[in-house]
């Protein structure tokens, strides 16, 4: 599918989705509440068939978080980037670990470093750090030991 066709496909499912173009891939910004519905369709619909989640990352934009899904379809050979906008006060995002199994560890990493809670995640615990740490990749994180100063 070309980017135009993908855009039409996404807007049919989520009419309020915002598109960012001009970058490397087609970027779609949707609210975290709606993202699961979109991702399920993108995975299971045969014309899109995104079977490979090659990156799941969190980004702190100070007013909100983005949970960014980089998706590739091995069969249809196209790539799309979905950005789920997560409220910073109450960071909650639905899990996709049952759609792509790799998301289980990646979501735990985002939870560990950003504090985004993934609802219905089978095993949401801190991954690298223990419970006494804050969330170091948040931009307002203060490092007590000042090993890292920004």
């Amino acid at each position: 599918m070309s980017n135009e066709e993908l855009k039409a496909f996404v807007s049919k499912i989520i009419p309020e989705a915002v598109f960012e173009e001009g970058g490397q891939y087609l970027n779609v910004i949707v609210d975290a509440v709606l993202v699961r519905k979109l991702l399920e369709e993108l995975r299971h619909e045969s014309t899109t068939g995104f079977d490979f989640l090659f990156c799941l990352s969190g980004v702190d934009w100070k007013t909100h978080f983005f949970v960014v899904y980089h998706l590739e379809s091995k069969h249809n050979k196209h790539i799309i980037v979905i950005k789920a906008k997560v409220n910073r006060e109450e960071p909650v995002c639905p899990t996709v670990s049952d759609i792509w199994r790799t998301a289980e560890l990646h979501e735990r990493e985002v939870f560990d470093l950003f504090g985004v809670k993934f609802t219905d995640h089978p095993d949401l615990r801190r991954l690298f750090l223990d419970d006494t740490w804050g969330f170091p990749l948040r931009k307002d994180y203060v490092d007590d030991t000042t090993i890292v100063s920004l």
């Binding site: 980004v59 199994r101 790799t102 100063s149």
Partner: protein, 376 residues
């Protein structure tokens, strides 16, 4: 909370469950990986990895450094493919500041990357033999790897954490002896690769330990995000050098090695055959290094425009992704490393459950995990 206290685990549900800890200090984990394994007799019921023993928060440190500095940290992630890690960062910054890399630098990068892949696979082969119970391969592989590292030392000054790729090209020109030494080395490596096959590949005990062990299907491998030799052994075509060529890989002739069995032996075979492909790539390029600049001219302080870039590179273990976000200042706003080992590790449970605990060691050996790349 005490740092040495293990975090709460979901593993132990009743007192009858027998739980064994492998690691964090254990020879078969090749680093500080801690596995909690639930057993019934000798059969593995559940595996739970505990990470964080070597977490240095490289992503946070990258935000503190500038666009030249953060790639040096990546040599410390997957230290056996440090060259490809640096390459991914260099390409990401080049895309951000829109710099063309000279042809000579591209060829040098491919040569170095393939030599790194060879050295990495050699080390894996030796360690794999050791894990399965054969001690001799370890010495043979280290002997051969040493000769490659010496070539790196001539040009880069270091043997493991090369830091040789910089935005715009490579840091220094090739050592005058580089071509001569590589040309001399190739026939020796070819001879020795046959010796590798004689020692392990046809061995009955070795085949018994690896054939049909730790099977994962292609669809599962994709779902678990596996890449590199692990996914290719399950019949998934995923070589980034073929799918999304970078640094002139589209002009080099090589085959993507794909096996379909999905077991430990298939993963072993993929890596063994990949070594031959790497040698063939080096052979194609070693006499055809173009003359010219080895580094494009860049400004002292790199300030890319606002935007984001994603670069995918095939390291010795699979796909490394660098997700770089710039806010227009001299420091990266966010750098995310999609490390191949992190995703490959998540398939471990799927492969090991139902098998014997001895098979777990064989599976770990063929996953070829490098722990600092998982923890970052």
């Amino acid at each position: 909370m005490n740092l040495f206290e293990t975090e709460s685990s979901k593993l132990v549900e009743s007192e009858e469950d027998f739980v064994v800890n492998i690691g964090p200090q254990h020879p078969s984990t090749h680093g500080v990986l801690h596995l909690k394994i639930k057993l019934e007799g000798e059969t593995v019921k559940d595996v739970e990895p505990h990470l964080g023993y070597i977490h240095r928060s490289i992503e946070k440190m990258s935000e503190a450094g500038n666009y030249r500095q953060f790639s040096y940290l990546t040599s410390r992630m997957d230290y056996l493919s440090s060259h490809m890690n640096n390459q991914a960062c260099a390409i990401a910054v080049e895309k951000a500041i829109q710099v063309e890399v000279p042809k000579r630098a591209q060829v040098i990068r491919i040569l170095m990357a393939e030599l790194t892949r060879l050295a990495s696979h050699q080390l894996w082969w030796g360690a794999m033999g050791l894990d399965i119970g054969a001690v001799t391969p370890f010495f043979i592989s280290f002997r051969d790897r040493e000769s490659i590292l010496e070539i790196f030392e001539d040009t880069c000054g270091t043997r493991l954490t090369m830091n040789y790729n910089v935005p715009g090209g490579v840091m220094l020109d090739l050592h005058p002896n580089f071509q001569k030494r590589v040309r001399e080395l190739l026939p020796i490596l070819k001879k020795n690769l046959k010796e590798y096959d004689d020692l392990l590949t046809g061995n009955v005990i070795f085949e018994e330990r690896t054939k049909g062990v730790g099977v994962i299907s292609g669809a599962d491998a994709l779902s678990y995000g596996c890449s590199g030799p692990v996914a290719r052994a399950s019949g998934v075509s995923c070589d980034i050098r073929k799918w999304h060529p970078y640094d002139g890989y589209e002009e080099v002739k090589f085959n993507e090695i794909i096996e379909t069995a999905g077991d430990c032996f298939a993963r072993y075979k993929v890596r063994m055959l990949e070594m031959w492909e790497s040698i063939s790539i080096v052979e194609q390029l070693i006499d055809n290094i173009p003359e010219g600049e080895f580094q494009a001219k860049t400004k002292n302080v790199l300030k890319p425009a606002k935007g984001e870039w994603f670069v995918r590179v095939e390291t010795a273990r699979g796909e490394l992704g660098v997700y770089l976000i710039s806010d227009g200042t001299a420091n990266p706003y966010r750098v995310k490393f999609r490390s191949p080992n992190f995703s490959n590790l998540s398939a471990l449970k799927h492969m090991a459950v139902g098998g014997k605990i001895g098979d777990l060691v064989a599976i770990m050996a063929t996953l070829d995990l490098v722990i600092p790349d998982i923890d970052r």
